[in-house]
């Protein structure tokens, strides 16, 4: 089985970066507000000016950091569809990759939150056996890309799936999830 070549890894749709920036902006504003507000409220010992300046500085830093996170996350995010599996690669500092064999995919969901819809992107999730959340997620494709991918993923032939279940002594029982 050939390894996934570097050039096969594709990025998400650019609007995903925008989506994450917006989401992180909101989170950053809230967190920055809480921290800044906390500083102002609790440092009655320092001068009010000092507290305000620190609070504003922290607020700006936090928001900037979250925006940077969004940008960087998008830049490192990759996915690839090989002959046998669907793979994702992500993580700025903590690198992580997931490979899901195509024959294991049970069903595929496509969804989009309100902001994503405005930006014209969707999230595709491919589920495997094994309880809640056993899935691989591509959080930023165009609707048509996602639909095409979904069809390709679900197009794995029935014979391939049944042939997987070994040992053969169980062939008389109805095929089912492992």
């Amino acid at each position: 089985m050939p390894d996934i070549q570097p050039e096969e890894w594709r990025p998400l749709h650019p609007n995903a970066a925008l989506l994450w920036r917006i989401q992180n902006l909101i989170t950053g504003l809230i967190l920055g507000g809480v921290v800044g507000g906390g500083i102002v409220l609790t440092s009655w010992r320092l001068s009010l000016w000092g507290a305000l300046v620190t609070a504003v500085l922290l607020f700006v830093l936090i928001v900037a950091f979250f925006l940077y996170l969004a940008k960087r996350s998008y830049e490192v995010w990759r996915w690839a569809l090989s002959e046998h599996d669907l793979a994702t690669a992500s993580g700025i500092w903590w690198k992580s990759r997931r490979y899901v064999p195509r024959v294991r995919i049970q069903h595929v969901d496509i969804s989009a939150g309100p902001i994503a819809r405005k930006l014209g992107i969707v999230v595709l999730r491919a589920y495997v056996a094994g309880g809640v959340g056993a899935a691989i997620e591509l959080p930023g494709l165009t609707p048509s890309e996602a639909e095409t991918l979904r069809q390709r993923l679900l197009d794995v032939s029935e014979e391939e799936i049944i042939a997987l279940d070994q040992p053969k002594e169980t062939a008389s029982e109805p095929p089912l999830t492992p």
């Binding site: 089985m1 390894d3 997931r98």
Partner: protein
């Protein structure tokens, strides 16, 4: 249509009582402290009466029978429910007999289909004979000739198409009880509770206890308080140990594992008797575990993890309990691979040859451990006094030792189409996953791991418990990790076993 056994009422009543133990205890405590008053007693009486009525209603309104190749169960007092299960969909029938069941010659029957959501149908309780008859009706196997439920074997002998592959010996059960601190925690908790409730510190409490044992009084009154406290603590530890051994015998006594076509049947228990079948195709992972004492004695516990469905550990399962099924409470180490091979037919029945993680894992572990310990000691010193900084070198030595132990336990192996992983610092854990059960393969690297060219490779299965869901090989050299990922992707995609290293 058949009815449940009338004694079901007693069983259900006891079960409801058990569920209500918590509020009952609360009421009792309130009562003892003088609060509550008559209302508490009324409430307790009301709860008791409700339980009785509930039990009677459940008995009266439940009927079951086999009609036209289907099992039909009708139940429900207000909301009537009829459950129909085609006979050919039934995969397993599990029998559970608690002490109460055995006293009255009854059994709980749980019926499982291929959907793997736990018991699709549960009949509680039938007479033992009726349960065996139902079993044979549903599975199409001849019922046991031995119909008396009070015989020593306490249940049907294995069906003709099954053979015994493992039976726990007395020595093994003894060792299991002695080396697993099953009840030590309970004993210590009791001690803790009691010490808290007797106002004053443990030494005074210990003295109180000592005073009550008359024979020692004169001696103890002159002995230093510390010695008494030590004696009492030792007594509790020994007590906990004894309880652990007895409880293991009661829970797992008579453990017997039989192998049939496509299934493993387990039967165990002296107090609560459990009979439970694990379909081999449902098995996702085989694990075994040995704590340091067990390693010295060359014994280990063996489990399987299944997808959905259940493995009954102890008989108190209504909600699907863990899907971890014990294959052996404790067996000799050389026999473990043979046992595991019954659960995973493609596994060669010999000890896997593990390959090591990267030696740089020692440095990684030390880095993390030493940072944490340094932070802890510095924080502690800042609060309690800077002289505690002397503990730093000792802390670092500890971190290093721990990291070395962890490294030595780490291991991985590719066994044709299966994958084995080993780990643990204190207790060693082993896990084997067939490639065909791998749902997802993961690769992860923390920043430190990236600098050291290490990676973790994870194999995700459909098992329902956290221990079974992800089997992870940690701190591999990146070249090895890439090889493992490659082999795992290959096997998980159903392409057959990758050649080792390719």
């Amino acid at each position: 249509m058949n009815r449940l056994h009338p004694f079901t009422i007693v069983i259900e009543f006891l079960r409801m009582l058990r569920r209500l133990i918590a509020p009952l205890v609360v009421f009792l405590i309130l009562r003892l402290q003088g609060g509550g008053g008559d209302t508490t007693e009324l409430l307790i009486a009301a709860i008791g009466l409700l339980s009785v009525f509930g039990a009677i209603a459940q008995y009266y309104f439940t009927k079951y029978g086999v009609e036209r190749d289907q099992l039909v169960i009708r139940s429900g007092v207000f909301v009537k429910q009829e459950r129909t299960i085609p006979l050919d969909r039934i995969q397993n029938i599990n029998l559970t007999r608690t002490v109460a069941h055995r006293m009255f010659g009854l059994a709980d029957v749980q019926i499982e289909t291929a959907s793997g959501q736990g018991a699709e149908a549960s009949l509680s309780a039938l007479s033992f004979e009726a349960a065996e008859r139902l079993k044979s009706d549903l599975m199409g196997r001849p019922a046991s000739a031995d119909k008396s439920p009070s015989s020593v074997a306490d249940s049907a002998p294995p069906a003709v198409d099954e053979r015994v592959v493992y039976q726990a010996s007395v020595r093994e059960l003894l060792l299991a009880g002695a080396t697993e601190n099953r009840a030590l925690a309970i004993a210590l908790a009791i001690f803790g509770l009691w010490a808290t409730f007797s106002r004053g510190n443990e030494a005074e409490a210990a003295l109180e206890l000592a005073e009550r044992s008359s024979g020692f009084m004169a001696y103890l009154q002159s002995a230093p308080v510390a010695i008494v406290a030590v004696m009492v603590t030792l007594a509790f530890i020994l007590f906990g140990w004894a309880v652990s051994i007895v409880s293991t015998f009661l829970t797992y006594g008579g453990f017997i594992l039989t192998l049939g076509p496509g299934r493993l049947r387990r039967r165990y228990g002296l107090l609560n008797v459990v009979e439970n079948v694990v379909p081999i195709r449902r098995i996702q992972v085989v694990r075994w575990k040995e704590n340091p004492i067990q390693r010295r004695l060359r014994v280990a516990k063996v489990f399987v993890e299944t997808a959905g469905g259940f493995g009954i550990e102890g008989a108190n399962n209504n909600a699907a309990s863990t899907s971890t099924s014990l294959l052996s409470p404790l067996t000799s180490r050389p026999l473990v691979p043979t046992l595991a091979a019954h659960a995973l037919p493609q596994l060669p029945p010999q000890e896997p040859e593990f390959r090591r993680a990267s030696p740089r894992a020692v440095w990684k572990g030390f880095r993390i451990g030493s940072i944490l310990i340094t932070l802890a000691i510095v924080a502690f010193s800042a609060v309690r006094g800077w002289e505690f900084l002397w503990a730093l070198p000792a802390g670092w030595a500890f971190a290093y030792g721990w990291s070395v132990l962890r490294y030595r336990a780490l291991g991985w192996a590719i066994l044709g189409g299966l994958f084995a992983v080993r780990g643990g610092v204190w207790a060693r854990n082993y896990a084997v996953v067939p490639g065909t059960k791998v749902q997802m393969v993961t690769w992860s690297q923390t920043p430190l791991q990236r600098r050291l060219r290490l990676a973790n490779v994870g194999l995700v299965t459909a098992a329902s418990t956290p221990a079974g869901r992800m089997v992870e090989a940690q701190d591999l050299d990146v070249t090895d990790a890439k090889a493992l990922i490659h082999a795992a992707r290959h096997a998980a995609a159903g392409l057959g076993a990758a050649r080792d290293g390719v």
